[in-house]
């Protein structure tokens, strides 16, 4: 039986659970970082990514509605995340579509759900399931801490590559730029909610488990992107050789 961790130890355990299956280890991410993807590959990524991150405010809205009224601070944080995701500044998905268009695809193709892979549909469905069915604190751990908080570190590595190796302009890659700041806020709010409200050993263990599953889901998603769109052009051995 696990004992209740203090907040510092619990945060370290959460970070470790996420890192165990980090999506940065997928062949797609390695190929991205090494500059070997084509704009067509990146267009397919954008067409899929839209359907994963596009409904993020919807996921949060389900959690918000099921969060007890007495958890006012947690509800306010979730509401702020939803607001900022959609109307606090430029709509995040509009910036994703701008990047997609720079890769050669169209807004129509990006928003068309028929263009996502079955695995992306699975990731989106898992996000909805967690938001609708899990204890709200566990759902925040899975979606905000496990998934969203990973984004700044991933994009921080990818943004210079997009400029330097893929030769995108600053405005074309603004989607990645903004996430360095705003998702950092959102991820930190998620940590605050989970650290404060996962106040039993059982809840803490369930939060750790769902972070692990969330990281696995993201790794599954990016790995499938490689197999569905990239493998035929870039065999694994070539990616490993470039990355070595």
């Amino acid at each position: 039986m696990s004992s209740l961790m203090n907040q510092d130890d619990f945060r370290t355990a959460l970070e470790s659970a996420i890192q165990g299956k980090s999506a940065t280890r997928s062949p797609f991410s390695i190929a991205w970082a090494s500059g070997t993807l084509t704009r067509a590959h990146l267009a397919r990524w954008a067409e899929n990514h839209y359907h994963y991150v596009g409904p993020f405010a919807d996921y949060l809205a389900y959690i918000y509605a099921r969060t007890p009224d007495h958890m006012t601070d947690a509800k306010d944080f979730l509401l702020a995340n939803m607001y900022e995701e959609e109307i606090g500044g430029d709509r995040h998905t509009d910036l994703l579509i701008r990047f997609a268009e720079a890769c050669g695809t169209t807004r129509e193709r990006v928003i068309d759900p028929d263009n996502m892979s079955p695995t992306t549909r699975g990731l989106q469905s898992w996000c909805y399931t967690v938001a609708m069915r899990e204890d709200p604190v566990i759902a925040v751990a899975g979606l905000v801490v496990g998934l969203e908080s990973q984004v700044p570190s991933i994009y921080r590595k990818q943004t210079p590559t997009l400029r330097d190796k893929y030769k995108f302009t600053d405005e074309e890659v603004e989607f990645f730029d903004l996430h360095i700041v705003s998702d950092e806020i959102h991820g930190e709010r998620g940590y605050q909610i989970v650290l404060e409200h996962a106040n039993t050993p059982e809840l803490q263990q369930k939060c750790l488990k769902i972070c692990e599953i969330g990281a696995q889901m993201r790794l599954l998603y990016t790995t499938a992107l490689y197999h569905d769109y990239v493998e035929q052009d870039l065999p694994l051995q070539r990616i490993e050789a470039v990355a070595a």
């Binding site: 500044g89 705003s182 806020i185």
Partner: protein, 128 residues
């Protein structure tokens, strides 16, 4: 740990932050310099977080494309967008009142962000 001195409306606030800290991220989770720091979009598009750097500016990186686009000649007056800065050294900042910001910093084509700690905005001129 970097020490942050923050001046606003004639008051001075002080606090320490962890290395490599973004002050808008801190304010977003209601930690110092919350509730004093005004910010909006958190994405370098509204300029609400603009502050004059009084001391410590030599440790900051060169302004990025968003700061150049939004701050223009205010960069020469020592202003930076705090949402675009990660603090690793002591710094002293001053933020204008909402009225002064609207009259002197806010570009006509800035987005009207109304974030959780943002200033009220009046109508903006249409972008050219």
């Amino acid at each position: 740990m970097p020490k942050v001195v923050f001046h606003k409306l004639g008051q001075t606030y002080e606090g320490e932050v962890k290395d490599n800290t973004n002050l808008v991220v801190r304010a977003g989770i209601r930690q110092y310099p919350y509730p004093h720091l005004r910010y909006g979009c958190g994405m370098g598009k509204c300029s609400k977080c603009a502050c004059e750097v009084i001391a410590g500016g030599e440790h900051l990186p060169e302004p990025n494309w968003k700061e150049k686009k939004l701050l223009r000649d205010n960069l020469d007056r020592g202003y930076r967008l705090v949402c675009q800065l990660w603090i690793s050294h002591d710094i002293e900042l001053r933020q204008d009142s909402d009225e002064v910001w609207a009259a002197t910093i806010r570009p006509a084509d800035a987005i009207q962000a109304t974030g959780v700690n943002s200033a009220p905005t009046g109508p903006l001129k249409a972008a050219p």
